[in-house]
Amino acid sequence: MGWLSAVTHTEAPELRTVAAAEWREAVSEALATGRRFTSLHALDESGDATVRALFGGEQPLLLSCRSIDATVPSIIDLIPAATWDEREAHDLYGVRFDGHTPLRPLVHHSPTLDDWVVPVHGHNPYDVAVGPIHAGVIESGHFRFHLVGERILHLDLRLFYKHRGLEKASEGVGEREAIRFVGRACAADHVAHTLAYAQAIESAHGLWPSPGLSDTRTFLVELERIWNHLNDIAAICAGVGFAAGNMAFAALKERAQRLNDDLSGHRFLFDTIAVGESPFGLDRGGRDRARATLRELRADAATLWRALLFNASFQARLGDIGVVDKSLAVELGMVGPAARASGHAVDARSESPRLSYGTFAAAHPRERTGDVRARLEIRALELDDSFTILDELAARDLSGGPVHARAASSVVGTSIVEGARGASACIVELAGGNVRRLRLRTSSYANWPAVAPAVVGNLLPDFPLINKSFELCYACVDR
């Protein structure tokens, strides 16, 4: 966990502007140099809209292109992962993407079915429409299944029922205050998102965290992963109607959330991250309590995980269900445990010099089959890794710390943080101490497009299980 090993990284991203005619070429070149597509967003710039695409790497690259007659060439043939980004930019900023046909609405809901549903033909196919209100305690979103018998031919998703305009609402707000808009995007990934925001602002200002601040923030984001992964294992048990497993892991989740409350005063660790400092800190007593409770949780989680492994009727429901193969995971730009379950070895923790991960290496399931079984197993493996990291960190000073100026200030900052569901990216553009444009592209946003192909060929009654195995959030997609 050598914090000093990473100080060679540059802070702010390189902002490169190209003409619309050179947009595709510039994007191809970024990909050819081994950079990974991270996000695409639009912004209003006196008249015509501008489109920007972020590519990760040692120094992030933010490509920018001014639209002509509100039109920019589409890049979705080069980067299928940018499909939702382009649809969103079209809905919210009126940008047309030449070559993106049909350009279906994403954020805006058309009353005309043909506008957003893929036409399905064949022998007796029929539709089942579900939501936005679901049968359980679940967030709002609409699914339209196209079926033959009980087998799923195709699934159209319609999310954004919960669109609150959080990104736009943050515009003009002070850069320290706007963190609350990011924080309320989603409770389950609150720490990961606010941390991405804080680091993005700090990167724009050339600020670097002290070791104490890095350790404290890493501790928080791993605490968040613990309760989320326990929740997800419980949810997968619920997805097959296995009440005993569901309740046992729900009880572990409750204990993890009570620990959050004990340490931070909030069961979801709300408001523990701030720009340039840490509102959260633990004294010796707090660290000792955390360590003891986490060790008990770890032992109980291991015992209960073994009980799940030896439950044959539960295990029989998991294999070959909701398969995403590696090539599809790469093509769709999937992130997090779901990507790793398919063998797509991406984990932003191994590229997070601002946090205390050192030489962290991502976990992999025994068989990278990309099915429900692999997505369940990866959670259990990562849970154990997180307990190890937390145990090590609890031995250090977790009282926060300052940031130090290391580079010149810029008007753009970016950061990627690996939360429980995967990497979430935050891009900030600043003007006079205020937010000019905020883009939060969450892990759930990256993975939702994979749910539709994952369910094809499966039975409709297995959908809740497949959906739970991704356990994606609607709130932070809709924002």
């Binding site: 049968a135 305690v137 609150r164 609402a169 808009f181 309320r184 409770a187 309740m247 009880a251 009980a307």
Partner: protein, 146 residues
């Protein structure tokens, strides 16, 4: 399986509240009208072994048709107004509406004015108010029992 059940029995003994059983029941239907998912997590937690509200005759039901109480979370987005009203209309009378969480109560609402209605009260008559961001499972339970 034996391990799981034994563990659950231990928790049950540990979490026993000593509250007497009730003769009445209440069926709750949840509608997410734009929350951050925090209220949903806490509402789910109300069913975990530490609270286990089914013991007191409370159940979360699948349809508004079966519900006595509509539990609503979130600042009511413009896209959720219609589904919310339709869920309410589908309920049998007498019926109650509970606004769950600070967003549903209209306090501290974050977001664009043009995308939000702002509080449940602007759409439906509210009978039960459960403040908190999000309210804890204990607070949810206490508010519903009152």
């Amino acid at each position: 399986m034996f391990v799981l059940l034994k563990k659950l029995q231990e928790i049950k003994a540990e979490a026993a509240t000593g509250a007497p059983p009730r003769r009445t029941s209440l069926a709750l239907r949840h509608v997410d009208a734009g929350s951050c998912n925090g209220c949903e997590h806490e509402l789910q937690n109300v069913s975990n072994p530490y609270y286990d509200l089914a013991r007191f005759g409370l159940s979360l039901v699948a349809s508004p048709r079966h519900a006595d109480v509509l539990l609503i979370t979130g600042p009511v987005t413009t896209r959720m107004v219609e589904p919310l009203q339709r869920a309410y209309e589908a309920m049998p009378e007498p019926r109650l509406v509970a606004a769950l969480g600070d967003c549903a109560l209209g306090c501290n609402v974050l977001g664009l004015g043009s995308e939000l209605v702002g509080s449940v009260e602007r759409v439906l008559p509210v009978d039960i108010r459960i403040p908190g961001c999000p309210p804890t499972p204990a607070a949810i339970a206490a508010a519903i029992f009152r």
